[in-house]
Symmetry: none
Subunit: 401 residues, 2 copies
């Protein structure tokens, strides 16, 4: 019996409420001038009080040294095995735009890009075109016809879109076309395993047609495809634990991640304050809430140390609105670290606090990387968070006599 | 090679003595008025001195968030995989009353219960009848005859007894008859897997006969059966590690748990002081002693914070008698937490200290939840305790060249 099955076998009904507040990319590294991380720099009286009364530690998304993408990082927090149950980006993108993905569908992330007269990539993001232009270009791509294949193209935002190919026997064993650098042509789609050859031919034909149709749309005159994937069949959180789950996230992919594990994706507005509005509105209808804050990660990726500090302080100011709902279990953590100094996701374990009437407090009295390192949980696997939340919500029976 | 096989392959003889002192349900949660747990409240100069000189940490019985029953919690401390080697309650009950269980036997816990004229359960514990009455009722149940099956019925204590069915091809794939609530009739025994059908019929016949024979014995006019189980075939501690093991426990089930892994269950008297008498008497004849203290758990289950504190203080006062024996390795911990505030077993990891001439002391100078959280072992799996004890007893060879 693996741990998710064991946990599911112990699930019992309760009326308790759980909130998992994820600040994307929360963990950081010390600023060279101050020696303090983004979170340690931020003025966070409410998070500090939460840490003082709760159980603290550092959540490790996948394993020592492993830097996760958003997919595995969130699946781990939702209690799944992030390696065995890894989900491709194409699927996440499709779910994030509310696309009703079917079992036979093959999905891929599209990035609009710029190529020069020689066909070499000059901008992998097409100057980050506005979403409105993206919509017009997707409309063009929808007109591409390939016999036996139904093609869907949906805008995500900016330069990002998603393609879904529907047909018989499509394979997701395909390599990305994004060369990851400029000055070279896009890669052709290649089959990673033999049976994917016909699918590679179909996708290459789509890309060639797209190139022709976008020829006059500089800077968005090319598409790069990556993250080819089919729908995984995960047992959902409602199925596993008998809990009604809601995802509250401004950014589409995180709503998609929530849907993948059986959450209802609620209208979440455009910022953290509106996300908490959504939480308040839906509070009576669900048992478990996943609330996702994106700009911590965005600022980290941009190397904007002060911007990330400001987002953390904004969340801290809004935290009392969540506390006023009196959830039985509140977890605040990140899906991974995105140190502004590194300008990218990283492997560093992430500050974590669990607050509950049944939480054993430790001696941690601040919410920060070093403070949480001294918490009683130490460095622990993110995939145990769900078990801890269910336990503190008194939603797990005793194991064995 | 699993870890128990690795450990066994390294076992070597020695003359060292090991004592594992288990305070059942030791871990707790802070009292709202003082902010201190039961153990943190107790005056424990001897345990504190042990912590100051030993290696400390928090022992996690099964895994994060999992609340264990007594069976898996002890099997983990004895070094077994508590999930793979989970033992049913029926077997634990049978072993606890010194019943010589055979391989083909099927055992089940009996709870005497009260049903009304409509056959609905009104008290799942029959008003907790005295043990003497229990003995008379068991005598009645022994008179039930089912062709081809030998039936044994033994008193545990209060409303609890155990039934053993001996016959060919009996299956333990049976669901409990205890409905867990009052106001409904007992459940019939149902087969969980197909081959258990004939066994279900046998047990249902036993229950029907019991109902008829107990009709005039209100409040104990019915039996509820649960925890159907057969004897697991665990390699014993003497087989694995070449150590002579003794179990010293007042409460039957814990003697049974010890026997299951090859311990001799010694006459243990009626209280902790008499248990230590037993330890002193048998000290020369064994290498490993499991000493079990029950009332910490009983008080926790009853929500008696002060009572649990008092039991811990009693153990602390008696500890010098164990220290006077100069065991080479002394471990003091619990099998799980039973916070008085929660009035039940819980998932919280348990304070742990290992004292030995070869133990690396840490900076922990008190024996308590928060003090041990800062111990060098951090939160660690209970099933590693046996390896640590054998190592500090110098009973494990080097691994590899």
């Amino acid at each position: 019996m693996n741990s998710i099955e064991l946990l599911a076998s112990l699930a019992q009904p309760a009326s308790s409420k759980m909130v998992m507040l994820i600040m994307d990319g929360l963990g950081g590294l010390p600023h060279p001038e101050t020696g303090l991380t983004e979170l340690e720099t931020a003025n966070t009286p409410n998070l500090d009080e939460l840490a003082a009364g709760g159980t603290c530690g550092l959540s490790e998304p996948i394993g020592p040294g492993i830097t996760p993408g958003s997919g595995p990082a969130h699946l781990a927090l939702f209690g799944y095995d992030p390696v065995a149950d890894n989900v491709g980006r194409g699927v996440l993108s499709a779910l994030g735009v509310d696309f009703p993905l079917q079992k036979q569908d093959l999905a891929a992330r599209i990035n609009f890009a710029t190529i020069d007269a020689a066909g070499k990539v000059t901008d992998r993001r097409a100057g980050r075109i506005p979403t409105e232009l993206n919509r017009k270009l997707c409309q063009k791509l929808r007109e591409i016809k390939i016999p036996g294949i139904e093609i869907f193209v949906e805008t995500e935002s900016g330069h990002r879109a998603v393609a879904i190919f529907r047909g018989e026997n499509l394979s997701d064993q395909l390599a990305d076309t994004d060369p990851q650098i400029t000055g070279v042509p896009p890669l052709a789609v290649t089959a990673i395993s033999d049976e994917a050859g016909p699918t590679a031919a179909i996708v290459n034909r789509f890309i060639e047609e797209a190139r022709q149709r976008l020829a006059d749309d500089h800077p968005a005159n090319m598409v790069l495809l990556r993250g080819f994937a089919k729908h995984p069949s995960l047992k959902t959180l409602p199925e596993l634990y008998g809990i009604r789950c809601a995802a509250i996230a401004v950014y589409p992919m995180y709503r998609g991640l929530g849907r993948l594990v059986g959450m209802d994706a609620l209208p979440a507005g455009q910022n953290v304050g509106e996300e908490i509005d959504a939480l308040e509105r839906a509070y009576d209808q669900y048992d478990f809430f996943f609330v996702h804050v994106k700009p911590t990660d965005t600022n980290g990726e941009d190397g904007n140390f002060a911007g990330k500090v400001a987002v953390i302080e904004e969340v801290d100011r809004l935290l009392p609105r969540i506390l006023d709902l009196k959830p039985d279990v509140l977890v605040v953590t990140g899906d991974h670290s995105t140190p502004a100094l590194l300008k990218s996701h990283s492997w560093h374990p992430v500050p974590f606090v669990l607050s509950s009437n049944w939480a054993m407090p430790d001696e941690t009295i601040r919410f920060g990387e070093r403070a949480c390192a001294n918490g009683r949980l130490g460095v622990f696997p993110a995939r145990t968070v769900m078990a801890m939340m269910l336990a503190h919500a008194l939603r797990l029976k005793r194991f064995g006599a």
